[in-house]
Amino acid sequence: MSEFPPGLLLVVGALLIPLLRGHWRNAYMLALPLAGLWGLSQIAPGTHYPIELFGQTLTPVRVDKLSLVFGYIFHIAAAITIIYAFHAKDAVQSMAAMIYAGCAIGAVFAGDLISLFVYWEGTAISSVFLIWASRTESAYRAGIRYLIYQVSSGVLLLGGAIWIFNQTGSLAFDKMTLSGPGPVMIFIAFGIKAAFPLLHNWLQDSYPKATVTGTVFLSAFTTKLAIYALARGFPGTDMLIWIGATMAIFPIFFALIENDLRKVLAYSLNHQLGFMVIGVGIGTELALNGAAAHAFASVLYKSVLFMSMGAVLFRTGTAQASELGGLHKSMPWTTRFCFVGSASISSFPLLCGFVSKSMIVSAAAYEHHMLVWLLLLLAGAGAIMHSGIRIPYSAFYAKDSGKRPEEAPVNMLVAMGIASLLCVMIGVYPQVLYDILPYTAKYAPYTVGHVVTQLQIILFAGLVFGFLIRKNLYIADVKALNLDFDWVYRKLFTGLVETCVRVFGPVDRAIREGFVSRVNWVISGVFRHHGPEGLLARTWPTGSTVLWVAVLLALYMLFYFI
């Protein structure tokens, strides 16, 4: 069992899900990631299961500390989300989720680019079913757009792998430099999955349209897999610092004005990825440890937040801020767990976000990146505004919407409770997390300075929020849609195509009609001569043939003499 390739257990195990029913299915589904987690604790570092293929050796399993930290959190996230989805009876969705989790786990242990590609595409194709499972027209369309992005990412990864193989003769997935088209293609492939600026729209477009449980699965794996891939392939790439800074700041504004609270969380997720990308870009041991730790922590608190908003959607049928408010009265436990997630993302001391994010901020300070450091602090304040305060405030307080939904189902509360507990546990005993980080850099999060300065940020952000609420100056929750970059391909491109059709349609029609009428004219001409009654279709007597031969002979003689 311990020798089973990580991830494959879940992928293969998923095939049995439709054969089971009810509690048996739930128990079986929960057992898979737990068995996988146990397997990980037994597996020896190094490479396993080499495969010979076309004279190349593939290494589908490479175990080291960087892959293990992502492997652990992916198993934990899968187990928690499966509990959260106990009430759902949709076998297709359960299978898709299990295969998706398995592929994500497999990908972080892939030692070569081809194995990585196989799992990479596996996550894309399995996860789209979590979006389609909503069974609405808009979810279907969003799923198609999601798939186009994800498959493009896979194609770029494969293209880059082939180019690198041609140049170096090796398929190993290790640190690369951005030289030549191969590594650039792979960088963009990772960038799509990591939701780099302008490559990000698939995330905010599709995640809020997935099912209540599907969004929680989606939030854990795809983007964190991309962070792993960047940390493995491009650590210390300066460009990532600025890409990350843009990611950490731009989504804040959209998160503040968005009405769909699950979409707010999608923007918030995008913004949290920015911190990790900055960490990878700084590339010191502390920064890379910070990126890995923050990925680990963010899977936990983001899933708490997505689970709590999922519970709200499940009970009230909406996640629109303008229609919610006052739910703390009838959903007190969901409210409490949401607060743990909100406080974690706000980096409140004694919670997991504090011990992970401060590593990245400190790493920027140690390297004297003052601008990056200031932007990280600003982005941290942004997280407090949109996810720390706005999410719980809009859903559970604000104005009383009059809605009195039932508390979330027990399985949802248990899942939220476990994830919240882990947030607190890591916040109180950060060493649990630090011990599994890839590098040896030491870090002490709980210095007086760290705690006081972080409390200042949180309190002053709260002060601004409180002041604006009291003065009625805060951003109102309005039912509306906000344009983002996807406008370019959802409106501009389709608009251009429609304009082209309108303008060039008549010209094109005229040309084609003209051509068709010429062809018809030729055909009717041929018909006149060769048709049943045509001149050239008649049978002629032999005499006339002799006459024609004589005429031709005469012409030939004439030309010969000239």
Partner: protein, 90 residues
Amino acid sequence: MAETPPPADRKGWLEEPKNRDRLWYALIISCLVSVLADFFYHKHVHFDVEHIPGMYGWWALIACVAMVFVAKLLRTMVRRSENYYEEPDE
């Protein structure tokens, strides 16, 4: 004898204006305390700006105000009807 309303219909603690005020003043005092705290420990600074007492708080204050107003400005530009892209699902 008046019946006690079910817990879900009682007035929330935050719905009392008096409590909202209390929370607000507590917040202001906490902010002041957090700034004053800066005088009572030794700072390991990496940048000169960190010498300003409460620098992190002030920066967060500026950042949050700026972010809210930029977001409001952004809304005036990008706001569209909910059915801008497609008709709502049945």
